[in-house]
C-alpha cells in the first residue's frame, strides 16, 4: 500500500526548473532512499512534501487523499529531520523536545513519555538538562533527529541526517532508523552517503535535474548494471585494446593506463548485466586467448563490484555538480 504518492510534480524558481514532472511513491513501512547529486531537486521535493512549497503542477496524495500545502492530515503525521540543524541552542535538550512536542499537540503524561522515548532513542537522556549549544556536533544531530520523531510520525523524512557526525553517532542514527522501520514508521531518507542508503533502504529513487532517473529495490537497480572486467597485463597495449573491442559480448574497452613500467590496466565493459546471472567464464577465456595472441601476459582478471555508488555514477555521470 502506498502511503504517499508524488504525482508529476513540477516546481521552478525564476525560470529555473528545480523539479520536473517527478513521480514516485512511498510504500507504508518501507525505507525509501532518495538519491541525487547536488541540485538534483531532493530538498525541493522534500520541501513540497513537507508543505513548505507549493508545486507549480502535479499532485501529492497521502493515504489516497489529495493534499495541499495546508493539509493537516499529513502535517500532523509527518516528521522532518532537516539537512541543517533545526534546534534552539539556548534551550536545553529537554526544553527543545518539550517545545516541539507541544507544537504537535502533545501534553502531560503523553508528552513526558514521548520526551523520555526520544531522549532514550537519541542517547541524550543523561544530557537532557544541558543547553543544546554545549553539545558536540553528533549530539546536536541526535537532538535534531529526536525532535523529528517526538510526535510519533507515520512518515519520517530525513534529509542528510548524518552530515558531519562521527562514525559512532552515524551508526547510532542508522540503528534508530532501522528500529523505526521495525516499529512500522515509513522513512524517506535522502543522503549522499551511498553505503548508508544501501544499508538501510528497501527501495531507492534516483533523481537528477529534477527528474526521476530510476527507482526500484536495490536488487532491481544493481541488476541492471553491466559487469565490468578489470584486466591487468603486460605487453603491447594498443593492439590488444583494439582486439578486445572486437570480441562479441564486449561493449567497450577503456584506454589502458600504465600501472608500472611494464604493467597496463584496462576496464572492459561487458554487455552482460548482473541480473542476467550469466556465466562469464567463456567470455573471460576468450579475452585471455586474445591477449595471448597479442603476446600479452594477463596478470590478473577481476570484476567490479555492483553497488549503489557505481550505479549512481553510471546514471548521473561523473561531471562535477555545483
Amino acid at each position: 500500500m502506498n502511503l504517499l504518492e508524488v504525482d508529476r510534480i513540477r516546481k521552478s524558481f525564476n525560470g529555473h526548473v528545480a523539479v520536473n514532472d517527478l513521480s514516485f511513491e512511498i510504500r507504508a513501512g518501507e525505507v525509501l532512499g532518495l538519491l541525487g547529486p547536488n541540485g538534483a531537486g531532493k530538498t525541493t521535493t522534500m520541501s513540497i512534501i513537507a508543505g513548505l512549497l507549493t508545486p507549480d503542477d502535479g499532485q501529492l496524495r497521502y493515504r489516497d487523499e489529495a493534499i495541499t500545502r495546508t493539509s493537516k492530515s499529513l502535517q500532523s503525521e509527518l516528521g522532518v529531520v532537516p539537512q541543517d540543524l533545526a534546534i534552539y541552542p539556548d534551550l536545553t535538550a529537554h526544553e527543545n523536545l518539550t517545545f516541539f512536542g507541544r507544537l504537535y499537540g502533545l501534553r502531560g503524561q503523553q508528552l513526558d513519555q514521548r520526551i523520555k522515548f526520544a531522549l532514550d532513542r537519541s542517547g541524550l537522556t543523561a544530557n537532557a538538562a544541558r543547553l543544546a549549544k554545549t553539545f558536540s556536533g553528533g549530539m546536536k544531530r541526535r537532538l535534531n533527529f529526536a525532535c523529528g520523531l517526538l510526535h510519533e510520525p507515520k512518515l519520517l523524512m530525513l534529509d542528510e541526517p548524518t552530515v558531519g557526525v562521527d562514525p559512532q553517532s552515524r551508526a547510532y542514527l542508522l540503528d534508530c532508523v532501522r528500529q523505526l522501520r521495525d516499529d512500522g514508521v515509513t522513512v524517506l531518507y535522502a543522503s549522499h552517503y551511498m553505503e548508508e542508503v544501501e544499508d538501510i533502504s528497501d527501495r531507492v529513487v534516483i533523481i537528477d535535474h529534477g527528474q526521476l532517473v530510476t527507482s526500484g529495490t536495490q536488487e532491481e537497480l544493481l541488476g541492471k548494471l553491466p559487469i565490468d572486467i578489470r584486466l591487468r597485463f603486460t605487453g603491447d597495449a594498443l593492439p590488444l585494446t583494439a582486439s578486445l573491442s572486437a570480441i562479441e559480448g564486449v561493449a567497450a574497452v577503456e584506454p589502458p593506463t600504465q600501472n608500472a613500467t611494464t604493467d597496463f590496466m584496462t576496464v572492459i565493459r561487458t554487455k552482460v548485466t548482473a541480473s542476467e546471472n550469466a556465466d562469464l567464464s567463456g567470455l573471460l577465456g576468450e579475452i585471455v586467448n586474445v591477449a595471448t595472441k597479442r603476446n600479452c601476459s594477463v596478470l590478473s582478471v577481476t570484476t567490479n563490484d555492483s553497488n549503489l555508488e557505481r550505479l549512481f555514477l553510471e546514471l548521473t555521470g561523473r561531471r562535477l555538480r555545483d
Binding site: 513537507a50 508543505g51 507549493t54 493537516k72 540543524l85 533545526a86 534552539y88 526544553e95 517545545f99 507544537l103
Partner: protein, 432 residues
C-alpha cells in the same frame, strides 16, 4: 493554540538573551540617568552648575530689591547668588564663575516708589514701556554674551515687575486692569471694588501676595524652588516618555534578529512544517516582544517615578492605553522589518537607521515644541510622534484632553494594524 508555545519559547530565549535585555531595559535607564546627571536632577540632587549662574549686587538693600532677588532665586534652572560688590562681579564674570550679573543701583527704591502703572505700560501702544534702566538696574554679562544678557534682561524685568507692581498698582486707580493684564485673570471684573485689598496688603508683609492670584503665584514659585524632589519635574515629564518611546522601537531590530536567528537556525522551517497556522506563527513570534515592550515601558516609568520624582500625570490610568498602543505599533513595525531583512547586517544597517531616524524626526531627542513647524507636521507620519503627543498631554496637563489622547492612540493602533498586516502578507509571500 500553537502561538502560546512559541510565545513561551521566545520569552524564555529573550530572558536568556542578556544583550537584548541590556538594550531594552538597562540602556534606556542608563540614558535617562546620564541626562539626569547632566541636568543635575538625579535623586533630587541639585547641581550648582546650573544653566545660568547669576550674581546679584544689591546696592540698594530695600524690601523691593530683596523681593527681586528672592524671585530670581526661585526660578528653576538659574542659580542666583549674592555678590558683595561690582568689582567682585566683574572679576567673577571674567573668571567665568558667573554667566551674568545683575546690579541693583542705590537709586532703585526711590525710582520704584514713584513708579505708576502708566510708567510701566504704554496702554495706547499695548506694550511694555519700562526698562531696567528706568529703575536703576543693570545687567552685565561676559563678552559675546549678548543672547544671555537679553534673556537675563527679560527675567530680571519680569521679577522686578512682580516685586514692584502690586505696590505700584495699589497707588494707581488702574490697579485692577494692570493686574489683570499682567496676570491674565480675565474673569476679574475690571471695576471690581478694591476697598478691602489695601488691608490685605497691609496684613501681609509680602506685597506679592496682595491678591489671591498673586498669592497662588508666589506659592507656586516656592514649590518650584524644590521641584527636583517633588513629583512632576518638567524635565523628566518630557525625558522619560521620550526615551520610553524611542527604546520601545528598539524592539524592531531585536525582532528582526529573532526572525533571522529562527531562519538561520533552520527552526523556522520546522515551525512551518508543524501543524500550526500562519496566524499562530505570527502571533507567537510577536506577542513576546509586545510583552517585553510593555514591561520595558512600565519599568521606565517606574524608574522615572522612583529616581527622578516624575509625575504620572493627574490621571495615571491614561498611561495604560498609550503604553499599550505604542508597544503595539512598535511590534507591528518590528514584524514588518523582520520579514524584510535577511541578514544581521541588514538589521544593523536598515532597522537601526530606521529606528534612530524616526526617533529624531518625531522629537524623541528634544521636546517636540523645539522642532520647526514643518518638522512637527512631517513627524506626524511616525508612530513615535503620536505617542509623544499622547504622553505630553497625559503627563503635563492638569486636565488631560482624553479625546486628544484617544485620537493619538487610535492613530498608533492604525499604525500597528497596517504595519503588522504588511508583515503578515510578506511572511506569507516569503513562504515560497
Amino acid at each position: 493554540m500553537g502561538f502560546l508555545e512559541i510565545t513561551r519559547k521566545d520569552l524564555t530565549l529573550l530572558v536568556r538573551d542578556r544583550r537584548a535585555l541590556v538594550v531594552l531595559l538597562l540602556l534606556p535607564m542608563a540614558f535617562i540617568c546620564i541626562l539626569g546627571l547632566s541636568t543635575g536632577r538625579l535623586l533630587g540632587w541639585r547641581n550648582d552648575n546650573q544653566l545660568l549662574k547669576l550674581g546679584v549686587v544689591d546696592n540698594c538693600g530695600s524690601r523691593h530689591s530683596g523681593l527681586i532677588i528672592e524671585r530670581m532665586q526661585a526660578i528653576d534652572g538659574i542659580n542666583t547668588v549674592r555678590v558683595a560688590s561690582l568689582a567682585q562681579v566683574e572679576e567673577q564674570l571674567s573668571d567665568r564663575d558667573l554667566t551674568a550679573a545683575v546690579v541693583i543701583g542705590e537709586r532703585f527704591e526711590s525710582k520704584v516708589e514713584i513708579l505708576s502703572p502708566r510708567d510701566i505700560f504704554d496702554v495706547s501702544e499695548a506694550r511694555m514701556k519700562i526698562t531696567l534702566d528706568d529703575v536703576d538696574i543693570r545687567v552685565l554679562s561676559r563678552p559675546a554674551g549678548a543672547m544671555v544678557q537679553s534673556i537675563v534682561d527679560q527675567l530680571v524685568l519680569f521679577c522686578t515687575l512682580q516685586a514692584v507692581l502690586p505696590d505700584s498698582a495699589r497707588r494707581s486707580e488702574v490697579k485692577s486692569k494692570v493686574a489683570d493684564l499682567l496676570l491674565g485673570n480675565s474673569s476679574t471684573e475690571p471695576d471690581e471694588p478694591d476697598s478691602d485689598e489695601g488691608s490685605d496688603t497691609e496684613s501681609n508683609p509680602n506685597p506679592a501676595v496682595a491678591t489671591g492670584k498673586l498669592d497662588k503665584t508666589a506659592e507656586n514659585d516656592t514649590n518650584n524652588k524644590d521641584d527636583s524632589t517633588e513629583p512632576g519635574n518638567p524635565v523628566y515629564q518630557t525625558l522619560v516618555p521620550a526615551y520610553t518611546v524611542m527604546f520601545a522601537f528598539f524592539l524592531v531590530p531585536i525582532m528582526g534578529r529573532s526572525f533571522i536567528a529562527e531562519r538561520e537556525l533552520g527552526t523556522l522551517r520546522r515551525l512551518r512544517i508543524a501543524p500550526i497556522s500562519a496566524v499562530d506563527l505570527v502571533l507567537g513570534k510577536t506577542i513576546p516582544f509586545l510583552v517585553i515592550s510593555l514591561a520595558q515601558s512600565a519599568a521606565l516609568f517606574l524608574f522615572g517615578r522612583l529616581l527622578f520624582g516624575m509625575s504620572w500625570g493627574s490621571q495615571p490610568w491614561l498611561l495604560f492605553p498609550i503604553v499599550a498602543c505604542t508597544s503595539l505599533s512598535a511590534t507591528g513595525m518590528g514584524l514588518l522589518i523582520a520579514t524584510l531583512v535577511r541578514t544581521d547586517s541588514q538589521v544593523s544597517a536598515y532597522a537601526n537607521f530606521l529606528v534612530i531616524t524616526l526617533a529624531g524626526i518625531s522629537g524623541c531627542f528634544m521636546p517636540r515644541d523645539w522642532l520647526p513647524e514643518v518638522m512637527q507636521t512631517v513627524s506626524l507620519g511616525t508612530p513615535h510622534a503620536w505617542s509623544l503627543i499622547a504622553y505630553h498631554e497625559a503627563l503635563t496637563s492638569q486636565a488631560p484632553d482624553v479625546a486628544e489622547i484617544a485620537q493619538a492612540c487610535g492613530v498608533l493602533s492604525l499604525f500597528a494594524v497596517t504595519l503588522a498586516a504588511f508583515g503578515c502578507w510578506k511572511m506569507q509571500y516569503s513562504r515560497d
